[in-house]
């Protein structure tokens, strides 16, 4: 197979990151250890900037009628507006994680070269995932990002929790991959094609036989992906893995994987799944309901904030899933599916900032070699650093969905989409469980502002880089809440091209 220029053009952002990943590892072995960190960081920033330019240029221009999509590798990947939008979110998450890592990795014996290399590799897998429109490419991208994340989770070699988390994640992930692969095989058997649009049109035209294969293929694929993104009742690994992984990796996982996974899911739902809405609709609906209720109730009981944020991440998966479940009705008209899809990706975008900011705060307020994890670690922080505590309050309030933050506006759009689709059970359960969530988010605020620091407590680290990420994320969270119009328009346009 000959690789042409247009093939390469269609994977530019991911390619930049892959080159960066290898460069980091290779150069890391050549330079002295004390220089490794700064050089690795520099390479990361350079390739991320290149990817940012490559993905922002095409969608920055107004393009109301013309799609900027480029396809490559015999339609296996498609770099269109949706992929570009999600790529932006992934770049933002990766970039902020790199900034954070200087503080997060300080004093840890984990070698730097492979850390940054794996981070970039995982991000490149995510970018390919949101571009993939062929099942094998889809699966390979999924595995690239998963394998990199397994290794990142187990990075703290001497920490039992980190090891346990990595093994757990790996076993669960491999198991889920099996489901995904099986589902794909069945779909291929039924339709004779690996291209997602092709599969969609064959199912729609009724030439896919036997129908039972299609149904079971869709079901298996859904279950496999539900495992991967951590949806109730397939979420049991999430809290353990999130707790055991280094905090910067946890933050990265919880936002970037979500952006990539849902970007890919959205592409599948909007192109392939409409003809089989009767199959996946009820599955998604049930999973969304179970996730919103289950994750929020479980989060209430957590005393460990990192674990609480893990459940919160599952809960937010539930809200987005509920929005996507509304597609089964709103798939009828393109205007409504545009609104629903746009609400979902807008939410994923703002979720990136509020969650990453919260994880950055855990590193910022860490003491000694430990990050702030136990709820007691937060006692009296407002006395020491009122502004940072205020920023953390912004994240918590935004995750809880209170205006004037971005989290509120995102939820507003999602629930609006559900109301328009007439999904009342999802709406009622969604808003009520979001009210429940406020209880555990505010507990962090209670400890920071309303409890005194225990006598003789060690002073937190208050690392500069982590503080920078906290401030940047808080600024974005407020800005996207108060002036959401331009990003909203961008998300609409990203979906619109896919819908028609």
């Amino acid at each position: 197979m000959i690789v042409t220029g247009s093939d390469l053009m269609s994977v530019v952002p991911a390619l930049a990151l892959i080159i960066g990943a290898f460069a980091v590892v290779a150069i890391g072995t050549l330079v002295r250890p004390e220089k490794r960190q700064s050089i690795s960081e520099f390479i990361c920033y350079a390739v991320l900037l290149a990817a940012l330019v490559a993905s922002f240029m095409p969608i920055a221009r107004p393009h109301a009628d013309q799609s900027v999509a480029t396809e490559g590798f015999h339609h296996a990947v498609r770099l269109d507006e949706l992929a570009l939008f999600m790529t932006l979110a992934i770049i933002a998450a990766t970039g902020l994680t790199v900034v954070l890592s200087a503080d997060a990795m300080k004093g840890l014996e984990a070698a730097h070269g492979e850390y940054y290399g794996l981070l970039l590799l995982a991000a490149s897998g995510m970018m390919l995932l949101v571009e993939a429109q062929e099942l094998v490419t889809f699966f390979i991208s999924l595995e690239i990002l998963s394998l990199a994340l397994y290794a990142l989770t187990g990075l703290l070699r001497r920490d039992a929790r980190s090891n346990e988390a990595a093994i757990k994640y790996f076993v669960m992930g491999a198991f889920a991959s099996g489901f995904v692969l099986y589902g794909m095989a069945l779909l291929y058997g039924a339709t004779g094609s690996l291209l997602i649009p092709e599969i969609g049109s064959r199912i729609a035209s009724g030439s896919a036989r036997p129908e039972a294969l299609v149904t079971s293929g869709v079901v298996l694929l859904s279950i496999g992906l539900a495992f991967k993104v951590g949806v109730v009742p397939f979420h049991q690994w999430v809290p353990d893995v999130y707790e055991g992984a280094p905090t910067s990796v946890t933050g990265f996982m919880s936002v970037a994987v979500k952006a990539a996974g849902f970007g890919a899911l959205l592409r599948i739902l909007l192109t392939l799944a409409h003809p089989v809405a009767d199959t996946w609709g009820p599955i998604l609906w049930g999973l969304a309901l179970a996730t919103m209720v289950g994750a929020n109730l479980l989060a209430v009981a957590q005393q460990n904030v990192k674990r609480m944020l893990a459940y919160s991440s599952v809960a937010h998966t539930g809200y987005v899933l509920a929005g996507l479940a509304a597609l089964r009705q709103s798939g009828e008209t393109s205007a409504q599916s545009t609104e629903t899809g746009a609400a979902a990706i807008y939410y994923l975008f703002v979720y990136t900032f509020m969650t990453l900011g919260a994880f950055a705060f855990l590193i910022y307020a860490g003491r000694g070699e430990k990050d702030a994890e136990d709820i007691g670690d937060f006692a009296g922080l407002a006395k020491r650093k009122p502004w940072a505590a205020l920023a953390m309050t912004v994240f918590m309030v935004s995750l809880g969905g209170i205006p004037p933050t971005a989290g509120f506006f995102g939820k507003f759009l999602l629930f609006k989409a559900m109301v328009q689709a007439g999904e009342w059970p999802l709406v009622i359960v969604g808003v009520l469980s979001s009210a429940v969530s406020l209880y555990y988010y505010l507990r962090v605020v209670v400890y920071m502002f309303m409890k005194a620091e225990p006598q003789g407590a060690e002073s937190p680290r208050f690392g500069f880089n982590a503080g920078l990420v906290v401030v940047a994320c808080a600024a974005f969270t407020l800005a996207l809440g108060l002036l959401p119009a331009s990003y909203l328009t961008l998300s609409y346009q990203s979906i619109q091209m896919l819908v028609r």
């Binding site: 328009q420 959401p484 328009t489 619109q496």
Partner: protein, 499 residues
């Protein structure tokens, strides 16, 4: 009107709060004076709006419209606007808020910088909710204002402050999110977030589907009923009041509870008139139960703040009874009573704050014979007590009388029970007064407690003066609210013409 007065009134406090927050904690003096100055400036502006408001002019005046979140793809396509304006009802609430704020600041003179800044942000939230004419904008202010109040109670409150603050915010949020769902439905159906347009269109749109109207009304009503608080949604109130610092209690009772009644007047009744009529018997019954229950509970309290908190449940019951009476007199009385309760209960909390600061006690039996020790204080307390129980010549009388007078024709039984509440109100307030002020001094250490200081008079005298003024000239308020209130009342009359 060239100057954006309402925008200034709304955002000046938050702007001041932002500018003051980088100052060092030692600069508390500057923050205090700046906060007082800003709230007084806002009062001045609100006063200007009050006098410039033309009772015979447009129903909504001082309107400002700006596009806020514009997106061609967002339904409703018009987008979300920053629209503010006042009618008679919101005007009264706005001025009440502007009046109580400087007093609250002055009563918090000893509090740290953060407290005053939080109060300033709270004022922006409250003003915004009263003047918002876009449903989305209203919801943003309505929820955003919870955070400062939550912090006020939770950081600077009493011993059980954390429990009280979390209970406060969770109760309110559960109601609010249901309202959000209803807002989304209503706005997407009508294709706009504009409150005035919605008031015109929603009754027509939903005329054919009473069930939908009932559900939407209930979603709005529960949210507002929790805020009022209407029996049986009141259980957060005594906790919040008891634990809140003085200024928090004043604003909570004086303004935040009025958000609930205001919500019924501005949104729930005009949006869903058929449902409002359908549920009127239930709401009237709950209001009446609230009046009796609140009074009986108040009688049984030994904590002065808790007593005042339960009396609020009873007083707000009167407001709700008036609003749902279906007559102009009743509803006017309800609105006037909203203002009155803000003044009398605000004054009561300020007064309790004075002795609490001196003694750190607020149990009824911690005091006794205080009239001998604190004659000026006793006089002021007497005036406020009489206003609270509705003595003619003071503000409470006119409101209560109008409510009872207006609700009798449509709800005679409820009115009869509510009148009983008037008697009970006199019982618990006078009993409180007797136990605290009359008789011999029960505790020797209270002998040298000293009377109110000049600094305290600075915030006590204005509110007492207004109590007397409104008792003599209730028309100051009533003339401005009459048109707006009668427009709301039309929705509750049986012969309501569908537009």
């Amino acid at each position: 009107m060239a100057a954006p007065l309402l925008t200034l009134i709304t955002f000046l406090p938050a702007l001041a709060g932002l500018l003051l927050s980088p100052l060092k904690a030692e600069k508390g003096g500057i923050v205090r004076f700046a906060a007082l100055f800003v709230t007084l400036a806002v009062l001045g502006l609100a006063g200007a709006v009050w006098f410039l408001f033309d009772p015979k002019g447009d129903p909504i005046q001082f309107r400002e419209d700006h596009l806020w979140i514009r997106s061609l793809y967002l339904t409703p396509t018009k987008g979300i606007t920053y629209s503010v304006g006042v009618d008679g009802i919101s005007l009264a609430m706005m001025v009440l808020t502007a009046f109580l704020m400087p007093l609250a600041i002055r009563a918090s003179w000893h509090q740290p910088k953060g407290f005053l800044i939080t109060l300033l942000f709270l004022e922006t939230g409250m003003m915004g909710a009263f003047v918002a004419l876009d449903l989305f904008l209203f919801y943003v202010f309505w929820e955003a204002m919870l955070i400062p109040m939550y912090l006020l109670i939770g950081i600077w409150g009493g011993p059980r402050r954390i429990y009280a603050s979390v209970k406060f915010i969770l109760y309110t949020i559960v109601g609010s999110v249901l309202m959000l769902a209803a807002i989304l439905y209503a706005a997407t159906q009508a294709g706009t977030f504009d409150v005035v347009t919605l008031q015109g269109q929603l009754p027509r749109l939903l005329a054919g589907s009473p069930d939908t109207q009932y559900w939407l009304f209930l979603a709005f009503a529960v949210s507002f009923a929790i805020k009022v608080p209407l029996f049986p949604f009141h259980t957060w109130l005594p906790d919040a009041h008891v634990e809140a610092p003085t200024a928090g209690s004043v604003i909570l009772a004086g303004v935040l509870l009025k958000m609930g009644t205001y919500g019924f007047l501005r949104f729930a009744i005009p949006f869903f008139p058929d449902a409002a009529q359908h549920f009127t018997p239930l709401i009237v019954a709950l209001s009446t139960i609230g009046i009796i229950y609140g009074s009986l509970m108040a009688m049984a309290q030994s904590d002065i703040k808790k007593l005042v908190a339960y009396s609020s449940v009873a007083h707000l019951g009167f407001c709700m009874l008036g609003i749902f009476s279906g007559t102009l007199q009743g509803a006017q009385g309800g609105v006037l009573q909203m203002v009155n309760h803000g003044l009398s209960t605000g004054a009561l909390f300020l007064l309790v704050g004075v002795i609490y600061e001196k003694t750190h006690r607020r149990g009824v039996d911690d005091f006794g014979g205080m009239a001998k020790v604190m004659p000026v204080y006793a006089t002021l307390f007497m005036i406020v007590t009489l206003s609270s129980i509705g003595l003619p010549g003071l503000n409470g009388f006119v409101g209560e009388f109008l409510v009872l007078f207006g609700s009798f024709p449509n709800h005679p039984t409820a009115t009869a029970f509510a009148s009983l509440g008037v008697v009970l109100g006199a019982v618990y307030m006078l009993k409180l007064y007797r136990d605290v002020f009359f008789g011999p001094v029960t505790r020797p250490e209270r002998e040298k407690i000293g009377d109110v200081e000049k600094g305290d008079l600075a915030y006590l005298l204005p509110i007492v003066a207004l109590i007397i003024l409104l008792g003599v000239l209730p028309n100051l308020v009533l003339s401005r609210t009459e048109r707006s209130v009668s427009a709301v009342v039309k929705n509750l009359q049986p012969d309501r013409v569908s537009h």
